[in-house]
């Protein structure tokens, strides 16, 4: 691995008295694809939400693309512009068209000219195979289509890193593959990706590393082949048995 994209050192996160993340150390290289898995409540979503300051960490340090994530608002804004995020519930803006969803942030946060932003947006909407929906409102699309728009919206900011927070968990089963296909093709293009997901097939296929979390701790990490065939920790073993058994 070459340059570092994300460097998390001795990071702790509390919700009041609850110790949500315990002494997290994680390095993600540029172009690396990481899959984070673990039982619900293990802190995996909280971890990636700390990377773009949707959650604040209390202790330790997070460095993203050379910028220290601290209370400095300009640092936070800088990091957020370079780190895209795709949410479980899509979170598209329902009062804006698909195209406006994609051009809003480039125009406002990147000061891109409208015509150029619209060109870029159409390019990425084609990339996720829904350019014909550009003038519709999110409420008129299926879940899978909405999630693909959400990916295109994140891509329009031309981010260095993409975070995925359970992007397929809210989808009907028949729509999962259309979203995963887009994610696989992004991975093939060398995008730096951190994905919280239960899609173990996706993890096997594209991840450089799989991280298993439980009770706010990183329990185990490794290349997907080792991780799935020879998990070292009991908790990992138990989790994998549970999700792979059916």
């Amino acid at each position: 691995m070459g340059e570092t994209a994300i460097q998390i050192t001795a990071m702790n996160k509390f919700f009041g008295k609850f110790h949500a993340l315990k002494n997290i150390n994680l390095t993600v290289g540029k172009g690396e694809r990481i899959v984070i898995c673990g039982p619900s409540g293990s802190g995996k979503s909280t971890l990636i939400r700390c990377i773009n300051r949707l959650e604040e960490h209390q202790d330790g340090s997070i460095n993203v693309l050379g910028t220290e994530l601290d209370d400095n608002v300009s640092h936070i804004d800088l990091i957020r512009r370079e780190v895209g995020m795709v949410f479980q519930h899509f979170n598209l803006f329902p009062h804006l068209t698909v195209l406006e969803n994609c051009t809003l942030a480039p125009i406002l946060a990147r000061k891109t000219a409208r015509a150029e932003a619209e060109g870029t947006a159409m390019k990425y909407l084609e990339r996720v195979h829904i350019p014909e929906q550009a003038m519709k409102f999110p409420g008129e699309l299926s879940g899978g289509q909405q999630q693909r728009v959400a990916i295109a919206r994140a891509l329009c900011m031309k981010p260095e890193i993409l975070l995925f927070d359970e992007p397929t968990s809210a989808l009907d089963p028949e729509m999962i593959s259309e979203v995963l296909d887009v994610m696989v093709s992004l991975a093939a293009d060398g995008m730096t990706m951190v994905c919280v997901t239960h899609e173990m097939g996706f993890a096997r296929q594209v991840a450089d590393r799989v991280i298993f979390m439980d009770k706010g701790e990183v329990v185990e990490e490794g290349a997907p082949d080792d991780f799935f065939s020879a998990p070292k920790n009991d908790r990992t073993q138990k989790f994998l048995n549970q999700i792979l058994s059916h």
């Binding site: 949707l54 957020r80 329902p94 009062h95 409102f137």
Partner: protein
């Protein structure tokens, strides 16, 4: 959510009729109700139209002596007083023009093509400048008229428009401050809103008009009419802020998070993502608040202003016309109705329009 309208279905109509009119007792009740309504309407029609006197050729109440219908002649003789209050008679064209300017500006700003901040701001600034020049005079060869002489419908429309115009941005500001992440600011704003809401409008107007002169330094005092407008708009803002806040609270947390994750700043998130959706959510109570506020303008009589209600009272206050108070109140009610009903219908139009794209 879309409302599905059922296709016209004759069997449903028949079922409906069957339920209503099947038994003799049902028929009897229906007939009785319809008959009663018809009787009441007929008597109103008789009073208001058939037996009414419409004009008074000599300007006195003699024409109405001994009639059984409405004496609309009072309106014919006194309409200028009702619409313009004590505004000097020869200058009343200015008052009517000023009223018209505000109404036209209000109608224009209801049209979607004016929904751009610079256009709206320009429109209202121009509107108020025109209004003020026409009403106050003192330049362009117009004789000057003191605000104490402003009155009637023009004053009502002015207080209302100015109150809403100052009140709405204040309401937005209060709603945002109450949601501040800084507890001190949120708490103080909350206390302010709850404090204003705990007071009757009359006391606020009274304070603005009569107590403020003792408290404020003279250079900050301004004219009484502006203090009243500000008091009125604060009262409106305290209620409307809570309507807007409810609209903001109704948004899923994911909306703001998605906007943050895209790198939008607080103001960008607020103006592009949060407020547009919050307004849509808060539209029904907002229209409600606008409607209530229009009717509340009649309270300014307490501090010596002659709004349309007070000048209506003056119109039948002299001995000559004192019998014609019903006619005057009906006329004033009609004026209120035109304004408030248009406002309500406009609200319904907005709801239909903004539903586009709402899932």
């Amino acid at each position: 959510m879309s409302v599905t309208t059922l296709p016209h279905d004759p069997t449903r109509k028949q079922a409906h009729r069957k339920r209503r009119l099947s038994r003799p007792i049902d028929m009897a009740f229906s007939a009785l109700g319809i008959g009663l309504a018809a009787l009441v309407l007929w008597r109103i029609f008789n009073w208001a139209v058939l037996n009414a006197v419409w004009i008074s050729p000599d300007g006195t109440s003699k024409v109405c002596r001994g009639i059984s219908g409405a004496c609309w002649a009072v309106i014919d003789v006194r309409w200028r007083l009702i619409l313009f209050g004590l505004f000097p008679f020869e200058e009343q064209w200015r008052s009517s023009l000023a009223c018209l300017v505000i109404v036209i500006v209000a109608i224009l700003s209801c049209l979607p093509r004016f929904w751009r901040a610079p256009r709206l701001a320009g429109l209202w600034i121009a509107g108020f400048v025109a209004f003020y020049v026409l009403m106050a005079g003192g330049i362009f060869g117009l004789t000057s008229v003191a605000p104490e002489k402003w009155g009637g419908l023009t004053l009502t429309v002015f207080i209302y428009a100015a109150g809403m115009l100052i009140g709405m941005p204040t309401a937005i500001g209060l709603a945002l401050l109450r949601r501040s992440t800084m507890p001190v600011i949120a708490k103080i704003t909350g206390l302010f809103i709850d404090g204003i809401r705990s007071l009757p409008l009359i006391t606020i107007l009274f304070t603005a008009a009569l107590i403020m002169p003792f408290v404020l330094p003279p250079w900050l005092l301004g004219d009484k009419i502006w203090r009243v407008v500000i008091g009125f708009s604060l009262f409106f803002a305290a209620y409307e802020a809570e309507n807007i806040r409810s609209g903001i609270q109704a948004l899923p947390a994911g909306q703001e998070e998605a906007a943050k994750a895209l790198g939008l700043t607080y103001w960008q998130r607020t103006t592009r993502i949060v407020l547009p959706q919050a307004f849509r959510n808060a539209l029904p109570p907002t229209i409600n608040q606008f409607v209530i506020s229009f009717k509340e303008t009649s309270l300014i009589v307490i501090i010596g202003f002659f709004d349309v209600m007070a000048s209506g009272k003056a119109a039948f206050g002299t001995g000559d016309w004192s019998f014609a108070w019903v006619e005057v109140y009906v006329f004033v009610a009609l004026i209120y109705f035109v304004f408030v009903f248009s406002l309500s219908r406009y609200g319904a139009y907005l709801e239909r329009r903004l539903r586009v794209g709402q899932h």
